[in-house]
Point group: C2
Chain length 349, copies 2
């Protein structure tokens, strides 16, 4: 059965079944993805190398955390792998997935955040994870871009590359996951998107609900209801996740190459440090992976490796109207149909 045929198959009595070696395959995938991405990022940076820490989790599990710092491109960043298990999932997940109550769990995944030095190079985030708990399993994850000075061509490229990966598997994956990403990476208290988005999904299992978020009236939820249920098996979802993971470097690397030598001054640097504050706010207040990690006695250094090297907060900061800094919030931190974007975002830089 090929990937493209798999969505047509409707063995509804069996599509909840999972392969015997599901955990092993998921784990090998995320390990290989971590390797591939680290190699790609080191090549991009050209100077710094990742430093690796192997760690054990007392309650069960292990990980390898890789950190890059003081590079040519990357000021600081980390790519984490972990495999953890335990007696019970944390309450926040059990509320979403009550079928898992009373069962042990297994989770494996890779996550990364890269904070470049040049304010014209966007910060990027990726996470793919796999869960099993009693009778249920699911995949989650995605990738999204957080520019400080944004360019339409970069946003289009990033989204188009992820869309191509999704479209190999089902035409409704990208439109749902793109909207879900906008919903998820949203700072309610600031009424701002975290960045220009990308794709995000969670609880992707055989039930066929492409959207499994908590906002029933969101654009992602409404879109997903129109699509209806899709039969997809463990193999289908896993294949989609693999394609998305492999699309990361092609989505991000060309943007780094295009922006890394753009000259900047203290104005751009100060704005970058200020905007990094929003990244901290999102990760500590809203991020599901961070909260899961902290709730499960995860390794704090690895979980919080996503935080930036240098950040600042300034009470009441308002960018000058019409400036690139104002454009960021007004134009780019609003949900946009990026693959069809025609916004003129030329800046005098």
């Amino acid at each position: 059965m090929t990937r493209n045929q798999s969505v047509l198959v409707t063995p509804s009595a069996t599509n909840n079944s999972i392969p015997r070696d599901s955990r092993q395959r998921a784990k090998e995938f995320v390990l290989a993805l971590q390797d591939e991405i680290c190699n790609g990022l080191e090549a991009l940076d050209g100077k710094a190398k990742f430093h690796q820490d192997i760690w054990q989790r007392a309650e069960g599990g292990e990980g390898r955390t890789r950190v890059i710092r003081e590079g040519r491109v990357f000021e600081q960043g980390g790519v984490n792998f972990s495999e953890v298990w335990g007696d019970t999932l944390p309450p926040a997940i059990l509320t979403q997935r009550p079928e898992a109550a009373g069962h042990g769990f297994y989770a494996t995944g890779t996550s990364m955040v890269l904070h470049p030095r040049n304010p014209y190079v966007p910060t990027v985030h990726l996470n793919y994870r796999y869960f099993e708990a009693g009778p249920i399993w699911w995949f989650g994850g995605g990738a999204d871009l957080t520019p400080y000075y944004a360019f339409t061509e970069d946003a289009v490229h990033f989204h188009q590359t992820l869309k191509n990966a999704c479209d190999q598997h089902h035409p409704e994956y990208y439109p749902t996951y793109k909207r879900w990403c906008d919903e998820y990476f949203y700072l309610r208290h600031r009424q701002e998107q975290r960045g220009i988005g990308g794709i995000f999904f969670d609880y992707q299992d055989a039930h066929g609900n492409l959207y499994a978020g908590s906002e029933p009236d969101s654009p992602a939820a409404i879109y997903s209801q129109k699509v209806g249920r899709i039969n997809h098996s463990w193999e289908d979802v896993f294949a989609m996740v693999q394609s998305c993971g492999k699309a990361f470097l092609p989505a991000y690397a060309p943007i780094v190459e295009r922006r890394q030598d753009t000259e900047y001054s203290d104005r751009q640097r100060q704005f970058q440090l200020y905007r990094r504050g929003r990244y901290v706010e999102f990760n500590l207040v809203y991020d599901r992976g961070t909260i899961f990690g902290l709730q499960t006695n995860g390794r704090a250094e690895s979980i919080l490796m996503s935080l930036p090297p240098l950040t600042r907060w300034e009470y009441g900061y308002q960018p000058e109207p019409g400036s690139p800094e104002a454009q960021l919030t007004k134009v780019f931190l609003q949900p946009q149909d990026w693959v069809n974007a025609s916004i003129n975002a030329e800046y005098n830089i």
Copy 2:
């Protein structure tokens, strides 16, 4: 019906009765405290003045936010006053106080965080607040100190001054609230105290439970159980809160005066920026006031005014064993009986 008359509590012949002008008196106290502290801090700084913003909350309420920056002593800091009301308290509080369910609420308070420039001057926090919701009312708050380079004499002075204020009202206030402060300002994911503590309390009403936290086996809970219930009326609690509020400047100002001219180099500055990251982690992950504000559509700029001007995160940082930086975590960020402290904390600075 005016705002202040809107909760007409029937005096039940018990000490649960509250004065008719309870809201007005609580509000006038926190407004006067904000004034007194801002004046004192400007005098201490000698250069920068507070900038004030008056704001309205769409759902009901108003505030005045005062920010100081780029001062001689204070790199950035804010002293906030707010008075807010609404139809329902957020879920986190209703879980603690189910009697308030189905009732509107009123809350007023002042809160402040000051981030000094010199790493030898500690960051300080204060908050006092008053709530009414249907049949119940309570006071909460406290003050605590977060040094970067800690000195026993400063810790003793800060605690002794707060203890004296508490002791004017009841000998069991300080021992309970001191332990509760240690319990509250704790970063579970780091297994570290935020600082050297001070006093903290919440839900102080006529029920006489000095401890009303959520950790039944904590030192604060165990101590409070030994003490048993205490008869204290609205007037008693309010008087205690006023004494604590007025003790703030005498507790903090002498420490600033003693440390403000200590010479420091990039080493101390870098450690200060690193440790400020812990402050951010606490405020965004655990702080009740921050979470209340964000959950009630509070004014984000005012709520997050507590965050530092410049902060950094560094993966895997470990101070050199035996250094002052290592002493901070090993000695000072552990709960200590500070008023009786005799720890030798001499540093070569």
